[in-house]
Every structure is written in structure tokens, then in C-alpha cells.
Symmetry: C2
Subunit: 521 residues, 2 copies
Amino acid sequence: MAAKQRDISISEFFAKNRHLLGFDNPRKALLTAIKEAVDNSMDACEEAHILPEITVSIKQLTEKKFTITIKDNGPGIVSEQIPNIFAKLLYGSKFHSLKMSRGQQGIGISAAGMYGLLTTGEPVQIISRTDKRKKASHCHVQIDTSKNKPLVVLDEDCDFDLPTGTQVTITLEGKYQKGKQSVDEYLVQTAMANPHATIIYNLPDGSVYEYKQQSKKMPFVPVEIKPHPYGVELGLLYKMAKESTSKRLSAFLHHDFSRVSSNMAGGICKKAKLSKNARPASLSLKEAEVLHTAINETKIMAPPVNCIGPIGENELEQGLKRTVEAEFYAASTRKPSVYRGNPFLIEAAIAYGFKTAQNKSNGDGDDEDKQVQMELKRFANRVPLLYQQGACAIHKAVGEINWRNYSLSQSRGTLPMGPMVLMVHIASVWVPFTSESKEAIAHYPEIIKEIKLAVQECGRKLGIYLRKQKRIRQEMAKRGYIETYLPYIGEALQEILLLKDKQVETVVSRLKEVLEKTRQL
Amino acid sequence: MAAKQRDISISEFFAKNRHLLGFDNPRKALLTAIKEAVDNSMDACEEAHILPEITVSIKQLTEKKFTITIKDNGPGIVSEQIPNIFAKLLYGSKFHSLKMSRGQQGIGISAAGMYGLLTTGEPVQIISRTDKRKKASHCHVQIDTSKNKPLVVLDEDCDFDLPTGTQVTITLEGKYQKGKQSVDEYLVQTAMANPHATIIYNLPDGSVYEYKQQSKKMPFVPVEIKPHPYGVELGLLYKMAKESTSKRLSAFLHHDFSRVSSNMAGGICKKAKLSKNARPASLSLKEAEVLHTAINETKIMAPPVNCIGPIGENELEQGLKRTVEAEFYAASTRKPSVYRGNPFLIEAAIAYGFKTAQNKSNGDGDDEDKQVQMELKRFANRVPLLYQQGACAIHKAVGEINWRNYSLSQSRGTLPMGPMVLMVHIASVWVPFTSESKEAIAHYPEIIKEIKLAVQECGRKLGIYLRKQKRIRQEMAKRGYIETYLPYIGEALQEILLLKDKQVETVVSRLKEVLEKTRQL
């Protein structure tokens, strides 16, 4: 047995387990490949403060073979970096920094290229231009899976019609199909959460959709931060101390973490009964343990807010209004919070009562079978999540809320019933996905709690609206009764008390007045 | 931007994304660490044809700090391999072979050790003995995450109370809690699916459970196989040809794949219009494409069955009977099938009508709200899967079956209602999990189809039983009516026809006979 033990390359691992990366089947593979390329384009543009203009094209070559091309007006990629970026897994600029971005792992686009190579044998084709005074680089690269290294098949100069930008082309086995979880849906939702981007979409049938930029404002400039001391575990603290370039313990605490002032660092050392001049690298595990306890007993400010940018309550409502015509809208953006030292922020927005299903918008839920379940739309750092809803912390949190409190019917632990769309967005410097394919958020208790709070805020507003609607309906019904029965009461009184017609009229109108007053609207 | 591009070590990646490996929270981390160690122990014993005797011990050190120790009577590990096996991710013997086993990725136990190190700073402690004439090796190792390399902290000889075997101890942040998804549940289910193993379980409170071996028969000897030609994609075929040591195309097809005879290999070459003496390594992509088509147009036998061992219909029923006392049991083992060239096999077993909930076992489902949902128990290569049920192909397949056909009530796409347990087992040389934590099966259409077929077979048997039960109940009701009303009919007839008592008696008994005959039981 010992003789067979050996290393496994990360590319071999993911080639065999490619469903982990979102390449389970041809239809999903087509979506995932496009998603990875668009994510990269958006990130590159925003990082260079360029308003993104992205063209996505799908061409069908044979029944199962497709070519996808994604072109952006970003800053371009220097030619030496192209092979590693497009044909090496776990290579990138975003992993080692804490900064809000769509990509984070350095896997996505190389994995898409690897899938293309595995299914069609074709290399990834890249054209990229970083300087309008120079020509663009044109490369064909493919991954050597047993070594996780790029192989350059072609490298030449070429023309490019934009001053700077990148265009990537992948040939792969795929399946184009409209509807739920389609490329179309992904691009609509992407446009919804990114009003600052222009997206042009060339479909395989030759038709073109264009989502025009709706705001000339860059959404926000992502800022890199240091880890927050809360949530940094003992083992990690110990490792960070060992590897720190700081010579003194207090300087280590001050420089390597966010929100620790020089003063506070001194206080923490004091509390831990460690010298603030101690060398971090020579800390023992026992000392690290004491330090860890001292940190967690110190009140430290929440991480800085400027590193994560919400979409914003107004923009969320606008986004919903653009796609869903409804009776009622509400949105809520929470303050940033922390999980494992990473700041994150939750937003939610709700649209209730579609025009098409208005007759079902009574919220009583008596005929549950005929009602539809709420539609949940999930976003992470402005990227729509289309798969694995059931495995997502957002789904779990929404299901655990007691929607009966907001006048909606709900089976235990599931989404409530009703003609409504709920949009939930998590923005973070590091989004914890349940798999590398980035389809669902992991169940961190802190995240679930914040999702609940954001959604409950929308829910409360909806509840108020629904209860008011219900009161109005009951009111209408009551008024209907009064108006139906009053004349009969009049007739009866006339008979019993022998009133004149004129008297009856007066009595009835007085009676109506009194009855109306006893009710509150 | 270019300056910040860099490599990411696989350990750094998984340390940051450790929820991918099942270390989302302290409770789950405790379970995952134990699971990884037990999986390894079972695999090692079976590979060495030893009936497993495994001791699992949990000790609580502080509120959040635990020590787990897993000891087996396996063949032991040679001391040079210990550091790599326990403190290096993606290192192992099982990844590059197609063979049914619990572990497959070379990640699990090192990840558990890494989690322990991150949360408590403590190294993994291993004692292993490979020869009863020699002392055991005692090592303390820890992973260097930035390089994904083991660091040996201690290496000495020591005594061990078994002739051969391995004992691993990990100190980690955890939470011990009984109930659903607990270590207890995992060990019960493991015992259920592995009747050949003895499991001794020392709980943190000092109590001991023992699951005694219930069969002296080794379940089956796993055999390694070559990939099956169906499901090997173009790109992979091209790569295999390029890397093949065979000098001739026909030899490549015959030696590197399963179920391709020398004769068949020649036939495939002919169909593809390629010389069977062509050098595989010099195949062009175009030629590989033609070869790929020819392979898929050739009728090739299903992969060999001996490489995957079912638990077996009888054993499944026995396993269920041991834990669930029910009215009705059924089991079904499917023939092996193939997904992406990997043979797999599905088994299902059902237990219906718990004694405790018998009043609800009528299957009519009129009072749906009060009924309980079916309990689904999932197993992969005899390992119970406790998390992410919603994301699992088994859950999806079971939900997509129309259980109304089998007289059960069901909301669309969900598990049916009823007092029942459904056990589904997938055995494969390579189980496609949705994440490295191996909690759910990926949604391959071939797998979903086979799960449905296995479960439907049980479902049909259950349906027959339930319909018979229903008929018996209706029968009882009818018989009740007849017995209630016959005397009155007798009285009426007596009055109308002026019969004597004796005559009435005869008529009534004849009437009863005739009525009984018109019914079928």
C-alpha cells in the first residue's frame, strides 16, 4: 500500500471532481464558463475604475459543441501573466487580500478552460491589450493537468478594436437552453445588480440583447483590509505571530489587524500579562492562548465599512421594480458585521403582489395548494447565484423565519407562500461558498443571523402592509353587510314602531353613521 | 495588478475555505474529524483483509476543546509515510486508482489535523505499528499551510498494545451534542452499513457503547479497474493517448480501458478509419475526435461488477430491521451502471409503518399536516451522509418520484409523507460528491436515473402492500355494514312477505353468503 501513496495535482483533482467547480453537465458548464469570464471582466474594470462594457457571445458549432467569447473594456492583462491566469488553478491576485470582489480563489477561468480542453481538446484563446499605443497579445494556452502548469500553444501580436481590454474564447461541450438557471437569466440578474455596467449579449440564434448602463456612477471602490481580531482563531494567531515581520508584540497587533490602535495593542498585551516588547515570532503556544483570550475580552470596533459596498436600499428597490411589477416594495440594508474576522453585510428587498397573480395576494393562505411559493433571488458580491438554493444559508435563514408573523402562510422551515420575490445580497471581503463553484453560501451562524434580521425588517414592513390590506378588505366586507341589511332593518323598524317614510330615512342614515364610527380604518 | 498575482497553496486555500471540507462549525468539525479517521481505518483494514475493530474516544478538555482518538487493528503505516499522510493535503493512494473505497481524495485526515492546528495549535499525534516483531512509531506532525508540507515535531519508538494498527489523536475546537447529525448517529449508521466491523465508542461522559461485529465475512474485496470507454470525453481520450505507454493504437484501447478486447480494439480502429498500428502519442485532435465517435458507436459491455460490492438486499433489510421496527420491509439492489466511465451501483431499502405511529399508516394522506415526512438515510460506499440532504442527488431523485402511484401523499418535488424510513446506498469506484466534505452526491443524470429505478422498485412493492391494506380496511368496513344492516333487512322482509322466523334466518344467511361472494378480497 505504501508504494502507491503519491501526490495529487490540484488540476487532476478538479478535473476528476469538476462538478465541484460547476461543470456537472453541459448546460450548467456553459453557464459556469460564461459566469467566470464575466466575473473576471467586471472585477478588472472596477479595479481600474472603468465603467464595464461587456460583450458575451455564444456560437453553436455542432449539436453539443459551443464557442463562447467574453470581451471587456478593462485594463487588459500583461502578456507574461496570461498563461498563468488562464491555465493554472489556484493562481490569482485576490486570494491573499481581504477585498470585496467577485472572483476570489484563482480557480474559475482556468477551470473553464480546463473543462473546454477536456471535452473538446481546444485551447483557450485570449486577446488582451494593456496600452493603446501598443498592439494586443494573442495567446492560445492549455493547462497541463498532471503538473497544474500552463502550456502556451500560440503567442503573437494582433490588432484589437478597443484601446485596452481583454477577450477570452473557450470552445466547450455545452447545451444552450432558455428558462430557469439559463445564461439568459444569469445575465438579466447580473444587469439587475450592476446598474453601472453595459452588457451586450449575442445569442446562438443570432439575436442580440443589450442591457444599457443605467448609472454613470462607479458603485464603490473596493478597499483592501487587514483581518479583524475577532474570529482569528488561536492556531491562526499563533501562525501569524510566527510569520510576522513586526519585532514587537504591540506592533504586530497594531499592524497586522484592523481596528487595533497602538494604545489598544498595549492594553491587550497588559491584559495578557505579556511584554509589549516581546518578539512575536518567539511566542509560545501557551502565550498565544493567553493573548487570544485577551483579544476576545477586549472591546474592539467592528471592521471598517468602506471595504464593502452595499447595492443600497433605493437601488435594490429600483432593481426589483425594473423586473417585477408589484403592489408593494420594501428594502433593507444592514450594517456590516463579522464572521471569522471577515466583514460582511446583508441586504434584502421584497416585491409583493404581482399584477398577474393579484387575486392570490390576500395572504390568508387558505388554499395553500393553489398558491405559489415565494421566489428567492440570491446574490453574492453582486453576482447572481442560480444553483443549489437548498444548500444556501440564505435559503435556510429565510425558511427559518416565521412568516406567519407577517400574515403569510408557510410550511415549517420552507419558503413562505405568496406572489412575491425576495432578493438577498451578501457583500463581503470573503464570501464563504459551500463549494468552489460558488453557488451557495455556507451556514455560518453570524451570516444566517444577519440575513434573518435584514429579511425580517422587510417582512415587518410587508406584514404592516398586508394587515392593513386585510383590514381594508374586512372593512369593505362589513360596509357591504351594513349597506345590504340596513334597508331591511329600516323596514322592520317601520313595521314595529309604525314610523313614517321620512322618519325611517333619518333613522337609517343615523344608524349607518353610528355603525361606521364604531369601526376604525 | 499584475504584481499581486501569485500562487495559492492548496492548504492555504482549504484553510480559508475549510467549510468545504466539513469544518463549518465546532459541532460539525468534531463529527468530520472522527468520520475521516474512521473512514481511513475501515479502508485500511479491508484492504489488508482484516475484520475491522475500531475504537473511537472523545475527551472534553475545556468547554470548547476536545481530544479525539481513533484506534484500529489495520496493517499500520510505514513510518516514512506518516508525515505526508497526516499533514499534507492531496496526498494518498486512492486518487489515481478506480477502486471502491471510503476515502478517495487524499485530503480528509490531513484537513482534520489542519483544523485542529488552526483552532488549538496542537499537532496531530500518531502511533502506528506495521510488524508485531517491531516497536511502533510515535509521531507528532503538523502541516505548514503556506507550503502544504508536513513538519515533524516528534518522532520516536513506543509500545503499542496491538500487533499491528494505527492510532491517531487530534486536539480541536469542537462541540459535543447528541441528536441529529451527531457523532452518535454517525456511528450507529456506520455500524448498520458495516456488519463486519466492531466499533467501540467511548463518549465524553465516560460511558461506552459497543457495536459488536455481526458477521465474520469480509463484505467484499475491492478490485481496481481501468476506466470504461463510455464517458471518457474527447479531451481526456486525447490526453490518455498522448501519455500512453502503448506503441500501437489497438494496444492502447485494449490495455488502458476496461471491457475492450483486442478484437474490439481492432474493430474500433477500423470504424474510425485509423491504422491499428498508429502511434497513440502522435494522434491529432481531429483523429482523436473520430476515434471518440467510433468508441461511442461501438457496443461495449458494461464495466465489470466485481469492482463494486453492494451491501445486498438481505443485509439491507436486516440492517433496517435492527434499527426500525416496522410493518413492512422491502429492498432492491440494481445492476451496476456507468457515469463518466465510472461504474456505480444503487441499492434501496424501505421500512414502512413504525409501531409508534401505526395509526397514521393508512397511506390515504387526508390529514397531511399531521403526517410526518419520510426519513431518508443516505450512504456512499457504506459511509452514512448526515449533512446537505437538500443538495444530494438521492434527495432530488426521491423527491422526483411520483409517490402518489404508491398510495402515499406527497407535495410536488419533496419527500413523501408517511411513517417510513428509506435507505439509499451508492457504491462506486469514484463517488462524485458535491464538495470535498463528501456530504452529498452530485446530480449526474445517470445516477439520478438509477436511484429512481431502485427506489421505485421498493415503492412498487410498498404500493402493492398499501393497496392491499386499504382493500382489507374497506372490506372490513363493508363487512361491518352488512352485519349491521342484515337483521333489519330480515325484519323488513318478514313484514313484507310475512315470513316465519325460521325462514327469515335462512334468507338472511343466504343473503349474507351471496353478498360475501360478490366481493373479492
